[in-house]
Structure formats: C-alpha cells, structure tokens
Symmetry: C2
Subunit: 338 residues, 2 copies
C-alpha cells in the first residue's frame, strides 16, 4: 500500500523552466544537469538502437508515452529478431513531487538531505536496457544509468545523485567474454576513480543476488547508487564514460556468439537460466518493484526486461563436470575477472 | 530481512507427543486436529496423484524432504507428461516456534490470540497443488488447504485456524467449464454454510488480482484464510468437502479439453497467460513470498507452481472481438458464474 510518489506535473515549476530551455534548443554545459542528462540519454538510446539494428537486421519499434500523473518516455523494443529474442532500450524523464515519507526514506543514504513537512519537487531521468539474444552461447546484458534530483519548494537544489551500472548474464560461460566485459567497464571507471571498479564490482555481485537460489543472476559488472561523492560535472562525466563503454563491452561478444551452433539441450538450459532472470527481476529488483507499485506507470516498459520465453524445470541439476555446472559454480561464488 | 520464524523442532514438545501417536498408528476422531489434518492431506495427495496419473499415463516423481530447522513434506511432480506440462502436488507438515513479532502480526486477524514475550510453538500442515496442462484449451488449476495452530509453552492450544481455496485459470474460456467449476465448489460450501461460497468467491477474485495488470489471474473459485468461525470439527469437515470436490471440479474439464485441436497462435497466447501466472506468483502470492523468505525452505517445492514454459511479449493486445479479448474482459471484470 505504498503512496503514489509522483504528483501532478503542472505543480512543478522546474518542469516549466526546463521546457522553455528545451524549446529554445540551446542545451549547453552551463544548462541544468537535468537537461544535460536528458539530452545525453536520448542520444545514447538512438546510438545503441542503431548499433543493435545493424547486427540484427530488424528495426526497433519506438513508442513515446506520457504518464498523466507526470513523466514521459521513449520505449524501443526489438522482439523476435534474427539475433535478438528481445531487446529493449528505454528512457524516461519524470518531474513530480515526493511525499515527506519518501524524502525521509532517502535521507538514510543522503545525510545532507534535510527532512520536510511538505511534498518536494523532484526530477528523475534514466536510460535502461536489456538484451536477450536467441543463441544460448550469446549472453544477456543489462544497463541502467539515472540522475535524480530533489528541489526545494522555490526550485533551488536540495539533493542530487547518480546511479546505475551494467552487468552480463551468460547461459554458457566463456571466460574471455566475462574478462572483456569487466575490463571494458574497469577502464571506464579507472579514468575517474581507481576505487570505483573494485567497489562497484562488489556492489553488483551483492545486488544481483537471487537469495532463495543462493546464486547471482550472472557474472556481474558494475552497480552503484546514491553517487554524490564528486561534483555533478565530474560524475556526469563518469556516467558518460560508463554508458559509452556499453557498445565496446558487448558488441564483440554478440558478434562472436550469435551464430555459434548449439544443441536442443543447450537451448533448454538457456531457458532455465531465463527463468532465474525472471525470478530476480520480479522478486528482488528495486526498479521493477518501484515501477509496479507506481499507479499509472507504463507496465509494458517496466517489464520489457523479461525474456520472450523462459522455463521452470523441477529439480534441474547440471551434470557433474559439465559446462552448466561450471556456470553454477561461478554464480555461487563470484570470480575476480580482472 | 525477515527473521526465521521456524526454530529447532526438538524444542517443540507437541511434535514429540504427536510422533508417539503417529507411531502407534491409531489416529481417530478424538486425536489432535494436527494428526487428523496430516492424515487427510496425505490421503488426498495420493488420491489426486493417482487420478492425474490415470489421465496422463505417466507417474509422478515423489520426493520426501526434511528441513533441518524443522518441517517435512512430500513433493509429487509430473513434468512434461502426455497431458500435463507440469503438475505438482505437495504436502508439508511443520512443527516450529514463532517469534513474538510474528505472533503480534497474526493478532490482527485473530483477536483471541494473546500477545507474548517469548516464542510460541506452532504447527502447520497443508496440501498445495498446481496443474498446468499442455493443451491451451485446458485450464490451469490451483488448490491449497491448510491448518495452522499456535500453542502455549505448556502445549495447550492458544489459537488455530483453517485456510485455503481452489481457483481456475483458463487461457481459452469455455463458460461451461467456469460454471461447472464454480458450481462444484458452491455445492461443497453450501453443505456447511450458505454464506461461504458468496464470501469466498469474492475473496478469491480479490486475492488473485494482478494489480499492475489490473486483471485477475483467472476466473476464480474460492479463497479464505483465518477461518475459525465454527468448531474445529465443523471446519475440518468443511475443508474435507472442499478438497473432496477437487477431482469432480476439474477432471471433467481436463477430459473435455485435453485432446482439442489448437493453432500455434493459441499456444502462444497460452504462453503469454502463463507469464501472467508467473507474475502473480512471484510478485503477489503470500505463500510464495513467505516460502522464499524462509531460510532453508525447499525452493523447488515452493516454485513447483511455476509453469514449465512461459512468454512475455511486448504489448500483446488481443484482436477486437476475439476469444482472447473476451477472456481479458472477464479477467478485468470478474463474473458471477452461478
């Protein structure tokens, strides 16, 4: 019985100010971070969709949507393509009001955020992506980067932070793929802070953990939230490095694996692993839970992360010494890949 | 971060007393309800498995398990059979201790249950069943009946109740099937209390509601919990009537539908509906959530309710005037079937 955290857009003055800048078409380095982030994720969405279309040979379906309570987005989905079973690349931009209870909950991770008696305006913008290939040798990948801001009633900033990450979920593990993916993310992180990759790698393994199965969702990557330990410009630069690392981290893997041969049993194992992906996303993922609990949210965009097909076999146990068993070992005990 | 509600079995004196009766083999109408319910659900499990095996031509796999923290059960699964994609019939019998916080939470629905400063012994026994047929014309069915008891430290009863129900989830709706299923359940209820069916039919529609989709999981049936409005003997008699009504409520439907012809598109729609079944069970079902949050619980038994295969299509919208659309209308606005 959570309260709707998002209220009428018309009450948010920042939204109106930003709209006038947007209409002028002049978003520069001195514009509010809201507009810079929005511009960046929209560009990224187009670039990534284009690159995935080139591999698949099919076009993304593009749906623009507005939520009456405030918020809009663009959902791009490529379903049942030549290479991809399902690929979704979403962006959303939301102006709204946060109830005092929601602000209070956020204070745990943002000591500088003062308590409030009345709802506060907020802004959130993010890009979110999940790619499930057909071929069981080709890994699933997920990415999400977001910017969040809370304003005072008069529109001055009260708190802001970045969050996000990217992680890889193979059904058949090729060490070289996991190493390439992690190395690419580490390089993106190292340019900004040498502590980021080790910290965010650990955070990723911890976050994408399917507790009831005692296994991680995949071989990880990076994950972080509530990031406010540098200036907004510095962190925006970090976020861009991460998002820019996506295509270099994933395209070589999909190119290598998309046409490999596989057996019917290997397809079945992929489907069982897809089932675990569904379990994580529906039972544990905070973004999914927040989305499903938000009245009027666009459910089809939230659940684009679910695979086209999946499978639950009773007591599926990989054979001793098999590739499937090796994967399970790595999922039960995450490895250091770089 | 829920606490483990189930503690060491050895501390539960009732368990030891019951075991001596069990070993004597003399369970009568004057035995504790714990043992009568256990005996009943074990008989039901065998009877139902036998009836489903006769239809399918394959045998159930039978797994007996014990949970080190206390509790045991028998899981019977028939997977990828001739008629059934997946059928699971589980029973479980648990003796344990409830922390004071768990007792406090239960007081909301049991005004007579006094608060406690120390853990209290409890007993729970239940039968749980889900059947997913291959043929999209044949409906999925679910059943669950359970008895719960809380004892004082000295073993005298402090509170007890029954819960359960049974509901039908067709992919292709045949009104006659829904009517037969509801009529059979209504007859079972009416023998005990004329208010039961109307009340529990409403409760069922309310409970099996997929909030984020704004639709029910299926065409309902009956659902009730915390039932303590008659004597234990009267309610046990009611529970038996309900459980005994299962085979008559479902067998005629599976017989009628299991060999019907269907198109690939109809199979796909069934798979999409299976996806919704997964959404309900993983996001909303209280039994599943409790199970997944119980350390050491047998996950494979809890998740036997999930279908063997399922599907998530982006923006699946049934054609105007189609059978698929008719089903969606009924799921959005539950009907009175009898």
């Amino acid at each position: 019985n959570k309260q709707d955290p998002i209220q009428c857009r018309e009450e948010n003055n920042t939204a109106a100010q930003d709209e006038s800048v947007r209409v002028s078409g002049r978003i520069t380095e001195s514009s509010p971070m809201r507009l810079r982030m929005e511009q960046f994720i929209k560009e990224k969405q187009q670039e990534i969709c284009k690159a995935l279309e080139d591999i698949d040979g099919n076009k993304f379906r593009v749906d623009s949507w507005k939520r009456p309570e405030g918020g809009e987005g663009i959902s791009c989905i490529l379903q049942d393509g030549n290479v991809f079973e399902k690929a979704g690349v979403n962006i959303s931009v939301v102006y709204g009001k946060l109830p005092p209870a929601a602000v209070a909950a956020m204070r745990e991770n943002h000591k500088g955020l003062e308590a409030t008696d009345e709802p506060l305006p907020f802004f959130a913008a993010g890009i979110s992506l999940v790619v499930h290939p057909h071929n069981p040798m080709a890994p699933t990948v997920h990415l999400n980067y977001r910017y969040f801001e809370i304003e005072n009633q008069d529109g001055t900033p009260r708190a802001w932070w970045f969050g996000g990450g990217s992680d890889l979920t193979p059904s058949y593990l090729f060490d070289e793929d996991a190493i390439h993916f992690h190395k690419t993310m580490k390089n993106a992180c190292d340019k900004h802070d040498r502590r980021y990759y080790p910290d965010f790698k650990k955070w990723c393994d911890k976050y994408f953990y399917i507790k009831h199965r005692q296994e991680t969702r995949g071989v990880g990557g990076i994950f972080f939230d509530d990031l406010e330990d540098k200036t907004p410009d510095e962190l925006f630069s970090f976020i861009r490095s991460c998002a820019n690392a996506f295509l270099p981290s994933y395209l070589p893997l999909i190119e290598r694996r998309k046409d490999m041969s596989y057996t019917p049993d290997e397809k079945i194992f992929q489907q069982v692993r897809r089932g675990r992906y569904v379990e994580f996303n529906l039972v544990y993922d905070r973004g999914t839970q927040f989305g499903l609990n938000t009245p009027g949210a666009r459910v089809e965009s939230i659940l684009m992360s679910l695979p086209l097909t999946s499978r639950w076999e009773y007591m599926h146990v990989p054979k001793l010494g098999s590739r499937e068993e090796r994967l399970m070992e790595v999922l039960r005990k995450p490895k250091a890949w770089v």
